[in-house]
């Protein structure tokens, strides 16, 4: 697998570290009513068999966290963007 890092260009898989689903968002509230949202965020995943937005870390390169859209059936990479917004 090769990922086109927005900063560094296309690099091999060995430079990156995977984290997981990039579609989950951290709840804003600490209120107990948000319990379901927190459980969702920390533990539950769609785990789709198809395009998947996911976080990768370019640890052996620029240390950027990336959002990679990848088809997890074929490993085809459909898009790469910086997690923190455009470079």
């Amino acid at each position: 697998m090769r990922i086109r890092c927005p900063y560094c260009g296309e690099r091999g898989l060995e430079e990156f570290t995977y984290r997981g689903d990039a579609t989950v968002t951290r709840p804003e509230t600490l209120d107990q009513t948000a319990e379901a949202a927190w459980v969702d965020y920390v533990y539950l995943r769609d785990n789709p068999a198809g395009p998947h937005r996911e976080h990768w870390y370019h640890g052996a390169g620029c240390h950027a966290w990336l959002v990679v859209t990848r088809d997890v059936r074929t490993h085809e990479i459909l898009g790469v963007e910086l997690a923190g917004g455009p470079a």
Binding site: M1, R2, E10, G12, L13, T17, R19, A22, R26, P27, L30, A34, E35, W38, Y41, V42, Y43, H55, Y57, G59, H63, A64, W65, T74, H75, E76, I77, L82, A83, G84, G85
Partner: protein
């Protein structure tokens, strides 16, 4: 008779071949001392020397010879080389002959000629497919003691070496526009077309001589002999600056992103690799386009005794005759279902081999075959079949041939050249998951969906004619170059005729006499397939797994297609419906050493050395691996015989006077920016934004699930500048975590962070005399008095005459202590300066053991306690969790299950018998309770002998811990038969008020 002299290479043809007769090479096979020529393989040299029996089969230990001339060889496997270079299961057909080569037959005892396990053949009726699943069950204990050892000894093939492989391996990367896989006619044409168009081309060919079947057939390309055209093509390619020729290189795997794995046999054709070169190089080739021109593999027809030495694929026969000038027999029978019969008969006759008969399974034998048979003086048996190859361990002695009327004839022969047609080499097209498709017309699997960027040309695409191979290869190369923006300036395609194919599928001789093998190496016969079907194993994958068809070292390259055809017939289905088992990497077996490359032995993982390493080594320190770091564990002194003696001295010296320890391995992260304080408040459970400049604070970090991630101290060096430390083990993980938090969760925060672990050398100087030592190191006019630089102070200093450093008043030991940091390049100088400055005070260097003793005495949690399973509550840090702010893990940490008082919490323990030794990993059980899981109440994490207290102490986790101080419980250690009664106490054994820290 044109075959050479009987004593020296008796079956070497007098003329021809692409061998160098000026370069004779001596070699040994078992007890035979033989001679071959440069350009030979071990197989061709054995054939030239009339050696037919080369190996024994896996299960029945049947005698086996040479079936093929390539990497698909199932039979002729040998142990190559000896000692630590011994290489089991090496195909004689791929071993390039070198002077002094030594090979031994394998899977036989006591010798190849007299193999006692051949007795298995007698029991064959009871050793059919899957027999072992139906028996060996009684009595149960006999499996490990009796049956399995016997099976294991009989199974296996060659013997692995027993000492470390002495040869080096390399990993390498390459990038290209067009990767051409295979150097036969299609591959050479593709590389020429792409190269001429200006593309960056890599051509990988498995063989040491490019050309593929161009070197094996008496054919022409244009007006030249085929082999000569191949040589010219190679020369033209070699002259192109952007073309890389990689001979002896097999592309064995397709991976994502256009990544192809290839193994280059750099030194395998030499007795030992040349100096400064590896034995093999494992390539990752990243290609924009790929042309798969891997050719095809001939497959046998299955008939009785078809595994005997002397039965050889027809194409291989022609290879040995034409390329190697070696005759695989003196008197041959040709057996085919296609037009290979004609060329084979003609080539045999031209080499002076008697062709006794041409047995053609086809009803209408084409003119070419008829004429070839006639010219060779061979009997033509149309619509005939060989029902049995008869012979002994020396090989075939005769063929029992049955004609269309069912009449038998017995013909003496020592060679049966057999062709059941060709199977395209499509393995690589399936590595990304695509299924091949059965093509009825060609009776072969053809590529299905292709990996992105791949085109298939020539025989690999099922187009076997030489003219088609050249034309398709040329077109594929030109197309690839054009698709990448190169001009279509590939020139004209090379031209040759297409030879006829005329295949009429014929898989196995149904009225075979004797065992008829589908998979030679694993001894899977037609009757095994039939038995498996009766047992219900009708699905291709089930058949494979039940019979082991296609699971041998050749992965069914020659046998699988026939196997599936036999299965189709046995289950009355078309072959297309039976399908095929999955192709998986690697295409050919690849040495494990090649995957490991240089990462072996001491270089398995990088070794990180602390800044004081050289100095510590000079002092004779004992080092210990902590992750990738090598740290000084203790510093033995003359006369000390026991680690405990040294460690006790170091602890005492530190607590009584002063000690120094290299703590540079702690993770160090520089955090800066207007929002640095806010950021740290969010990643730490406690608060850092309120920390005054010039102060340090202990910090606890949680994971988002509420469990503890890491701890450390962070100092504030400026309004917008913090300096964080992490544990040694978690340095990388925490850095990654912080960057995640910043970039993903809170990108709006104006903060930056960088790891500076390697940039700072840092030493802890601890003990009552620490201040005096530090004062002596600091440049004048810097005040380290308790008032000016109190506990937890932090700030910049200069040391040793102007070196900018940092001083922190931190203590892990519980003593008056400082950590002093300087740029790493001064690390060695600083430890020497510290020792000099400390000498008057009796300074003692201490290692990780003494560090551990002192932290246990103080009850500080470390790796054994921060094990990812513990919560702040467990560690007694519940109060650190801020209620005033959000932070990572806050919400989840508040869940009742994580703060349940019944959870095991950190306690100290001391033995009731003062002399008793504690051992980490013991479990806590109530004093008088049975030692069993129902009474398991926790465990002992860390233990140490406390020099100050004079007895062992320990830290551990105990249910309802804080309520049980004073209770005596059992530290149960059935594993080491070392139960100890211990008293529970607070997890701090020395100076619980912390008075020593603050003096």
């Amino acid at each position: 008779m044109t075959i050479g002299t009987p004593t020296d290479q008796p079956s070497r043809l007098a003329f021809g071949g692409l061998i160098d007769r000026r370069l004779p090479l001596r070699f040994r096979f078992d007890d035979l001392e033989l001679t071959g020529y440069a350009g030979d393989t071990l197989a061709s040299a054995l054939i030239a020397n009339d050696v037919k029996l080369v190996g024994r089969s896996f299960k029945y230990h049947r005698p086996r010879g040479i079936l093929t001339a390539g990497s698909e060889e199932p039979n002729a496997l040998v142990e190559l080389r000896a000692g630590p270079r011994r290489e089991p299961n090496t195909r004689a057909t791929t071993i390039e002959l070198y002077d002094g080569l030594a090979a031994d037959s394998q899977n036989r005892w006591p010798s190849l000629r007299h193999d006692l396990l051949a007795v298995n053949q007698l029991a064959a009726p009871f050793l059919g497919a899957g027999f072992y699943y139906k028996t060996f069950m009684w009595p149960a204990a006999f499996w490990e003691k009796v049956y399995e050892p016997a099976i294991r000894r009989a199974a296996g093939l060659g013997r692995a070496a027993t000492a470390a492989d002495p040869d080096p391996y390399e990993k390498a990367f390459a990038f290209c526009d067009v990767l051409v896989i295979g150097g036969g006619p299609a591959g050479l044409a593709a590389a020429l077309a792409a190269g001429r168009a200006g593309a960056r081309v890599i051509l990988c060919d498995e063989d040491f001589l490019a050309g593929g079947r161009l070197n094996a057939e008496r054919r022409g390309v244009g007006d030249k002999p085929a082999y000569a055209w191949a040589a010219e093509a190679v020369a033209e390619l070699a002259a192109m600056p952007d073309v890389t020729l990689m001979p002896r290189t097999t592309v064995y795997g397709v991976y994502d992103g256009g990544t192809y794995a290839a193994i280059e046999r750099v030194g395998d054709h030499l007795p030992v690799p040349a100096p400064h070169t590896p034995r093999q190089r494992n390539w990752k080739i990243v290609a924009k386009r790929t042309v798969l021109a891997a050719g095809a593999i001939e497959r046998p027809i299955v008939f009785g005794g078809n595994d005997r030495p002397g039965v050889m694929l027809a194409g291989a026969v022609r290879t040995y005759l034409n390329r190697f000038a070696a005759a695989p027999g003196r008197r041959a029978v040709v057996f085919a279902n296609n037009d290979e019969a004609a060329a084979t008969t003609a080539d045999l006759a031209a080499a002076g081999v008697v062709v006794a008969a041409v047995v053609d399974t086809r009803r209408d034998v084409p003119a070419a075959t008829r004429e070839a048979a006639k010219a060779a003086g061979a009997l033509l048996v149309a619509e005939g079949r060989i029902v049995e190859a008869k012979g002994g361990r020396r090989g075939v002695r005769s063929a029992l041939i049955r004609n269309r009327d069912g009449r038998d004839m017995h013909l003496a022969c020592d060679l049966i050249a057999v062709s059941g047609g060709w199977s395209p080499t499509i393995q690589l097209t399936s590595h990304l998951g695509a299924k091949p498709m059965w093509d009825e017309a060609r009776a072969a699997q053809l590529p299905g969906a292709l990996p992105p960027g791949m085109a298939v040309a020539g025989a690999a695409a099922g187009d076997f004619g030489l003219g088609s191979c050249l034309a398709e290869g040329h077109a594929a190369g030109a197309d690839a170059a054009e698709a990448l923006g190169h001009d279509r300036s590939s020139g004209a395609a090379p031209v040759a005729d297409d030879e006829p194919a005329g295949l009429a599928p014929y898989w196995h001789v149904k009225d075979s006499a004797g065992k008829a093998f589908v998979d030679f190496q694993n001894d899977v016969s037609v009757s095994d397939v039939a038995l498996a079907v009766r047992d219900g194993f009708r699905i291709a994958e089930h058949l494979k797994r039940y019979t082991t068809l296609g699971m041998a070292t050749d992965q069914g390259k020659t046998g699988n297609t026939a196997g599936m055809a036999v299965l189709a017939e046995a289950t009355a289905r078309p072959v297309a419906e039976v399908g095929m088992t999955t192709f998986r990497p690697p295409y050919v077996p690849v040495a494990i050493g090649a995957f490991a490359g240089h990462h072996r032995g001491k270089a398995f993982r990088p070794t990180r050395l602390a800044p004081s390493h050289a100095w510590a080594a000079e002092r004779g320190a004992v080092f210990v691996e902590t992750g990738n770091w090598l740290r000084a564990q203790w510093y033995p002194e003359a006369g000390e015989t026991d680690w405990l003696e040294s460690v006790t001295r170091e602890v005492k010296g530190t607590r009584e006077r002063v000690g120094v320890c290299d703590v540079s391995t702690l993770g160090k992260i520089d955090v800066q920016g207007p929002d640095a304080g806010t950021f740290l408040d969010r990643v730490y459970a406690n608060t850092f934004s309120t920390l005054p400049v010039g102060k340090a604070r202990y910090g606890l970090m949680l994971r988002e699930d509420g469990f503890v991630l890491d701890d450390g101290t962070t100092a504030r060096l400026g309004e917008e500048h913090y300096f964080m430390t992490t544990t040694t083990a978690n340095a990388v993980k925490v850095m990654q975590h912080l960057e995640y938090c910043h970039q993903v969760i809170w990108p709006d925060l104006d903060v930056q962070m960088v790891s500076v672990t390697e940039q700072w050398a840092q030493y802890a100087i601890a003990g009552p005399k620490a201040r005096a030592v530090v004062a002596a190191l600091l440049d004048p006019s810097q005040d380290v008095s308790n008032e000016a630089f109190p506990y937890l102070a932090a700030g910049p200093v200069t040391v040793c005459g102007g070196v900018a450093g940092r001083l922190y008043r931190l203590s892990f030991s519980g003593e008056l202590a400082y950590e002093i940091g300087v740029p790493a390049r001064y690390g060695d100088a600083l430890i020497r300066a510290i020792m000099t400055a400390g000498a008057p005070h009796g300074i003692v260097p201490y290692g990780t053991e003494a560090l551990g003793v002192m932290r246990i005495e103080k009850g500080h949690p470390a790796g054994n306690e921060l094990n990812g399973q513990t919560t702040a509550h467990d560690l007694g840090f519940g109060k650190l969790l801020s209620k005033k702010k959000d932070f990572i893990g806050r919400f989840m940490a508040a869940r009742p299950a994580l703060t349940d008082p019944g959870r095991t919490t950190l306690v100290g323990v001391k033995p009731v018998e003062p002399g008793a030794r504690l051992r980490g990993g013991a479990h806590f059980v109530p004093r008088d309770a049975t030692v069993s899981s129902e009474n398991d109440q926790g465990y002992l994490t860390s233990v140490a002998f406390s020099p100050e207290l004079g007895h062992w102490i320990g830290l551990g986790f105990l249910a309802n811990g804080p309520e049980r101080y004073g209770e005596v419980i059992r530290a149960a250690d059935p594993l080491r038969s070392a139960d100890v009664m211990v008293e529970v106490c607070a997890p701090c054994f020395i100076d619980p008020e912390g008075a020593r820290l603050r003096v």
